[in-house]
Amino acid sequence: MTASVRFLEILVTAATGLATLAPILLIVLWVRDARGGRLW
């Protein structure tokens, strides 16, 4: 059973999209913690 082009495309695109959002989420969390005095 061979993976199709579509399967490969969905897998890689979804993973890359989620990984693109990750640093944005981290920075949002940092700002939230810093404003609330909860960074450390």
Partner: protein, 496 residues
Amino acid sequence: MNEVQSAILDPNVGWVILAAFSVLWVALGWWFGRDSGDVEGFMLAGRRVGLALGVATAMATWVTSNTTMAAPQLALQLGIWGMIGYSLGAVGLILFAPLARRIRDLMPGGFTSGDFVRVRYGTTAWRIFLAISLFYALGWLISMGTAGGVLIHALTGIEYRWGMSVIVGICVLYTVLGGLRAVIGTDFIQTVIILVGVVVLAWLAIDAVGFEKMHAVTLAERPALLNLLFPAAIMFLFNNLLFGVGEIFHSNVWWSRAFAFREGVGMPAYLIAGALWVPVPIVAGFVALTVPALHLNVPSADMVGPMVAAHLLGQNGAILVFIVVFAALASSLDSLLAATSDLVLTDLYKGHLRPDATDEDLQRMARWIVLGLGLATWALCLPRVATLAALLHFTGAFVASTIWPIATGLYWRRASSSGAAAAMVLGTLSGLAAYWSIGFYVAALVSAAVSMVTVLVMTRLRPDDFEWKDLETLSVPTGLVKPAPANVFMDEGVSR
């Protein structure tokens, strides 16, 4: 091959980047760690780490150089299941989330995973656990030190031993300067750099090769990589899942963070970090599927990632991968140095050699132990003994044997002490037998299975009657209050 060779950085450029980031990490490490204070502040960042830093440090530590270098290697060897299997390493982070909350609740003043095993299961199981844990930690340290030397050599031509020495030396320096605060603070910045780097490389690779061409050429030249029923790859998938769970459940790297996070942060931090980690090995690994389309001649499997980046992006690709992997190496190496030195300090030095050591002794020794561990890592990395993945998976037999003793010990008061000790020994031996007789992709599977059966059978035959409040004896005042030495490491010494 010629195009790749021409894209490799000039050694002088390599030294400039290496120097610039070394200065940056040491300066940031010093700055973040300048208020570390007492031994609790140095080892556990004052137990007040918030969610943003908590998520970032869990992610950064788990995104190792192996994620960025061995994921492409595994994709090249095992195809699609190789990278999906690697991404299941995130299951360990996600499953550890409730354990982190449980650990914090049971032992608000605990210091190491060894503390728990000693009090919960007694001296014999504790010593077996320490042997496994320290062996694994050294294996991981060597793996990352080796990766550093390999990467720098592949991209710049700088001799392996020089590159490895610089990376190990820098991490040791800023960990000595700032302790866990330095580690966690730099982890945040390193995580952002790693994620941006792998994402940029992935989008550029997609744009340069395209899925149609990638699929067609791979199907023609390496069809097994697209085979969804590739038996060894499917075994690897489950094996890697259990390997990751074993690594995280037992390692003091993750326990020390459970102790260091402020109350209520451990569970969401590990859940978010796990969810965000899932795509990283796929993003970093799929570039290996471009190798057939790009007609690259890869001389060593663990150089796939850097070579593809250099081929696709020329000098800028080489610089990008260099920075990303330097950040990945540093973020894991520093965490492991800090957590392993905690284990050596509390469980070997205080637990075995100097039970009467004072708080001041421990504070002084903490830095010497980080330094000694760094030197040991450097010496063991000098001969390049194994490929990264081989070294990584050799330890799977060891760590998977600890999954059941740890999980049942945290939730099941009848879980047997003798069963825990036997499970770690029998699990490890059977996992090693499977490693040598079948392959690396079954070692953790067999080890975890044998360990589980042993725990269940022994608990049936010789159940414990453990009192959870015994773990509270590890408690010390939290926050910035300096802990009373008599309470820090348990007055009763090493025995239960």
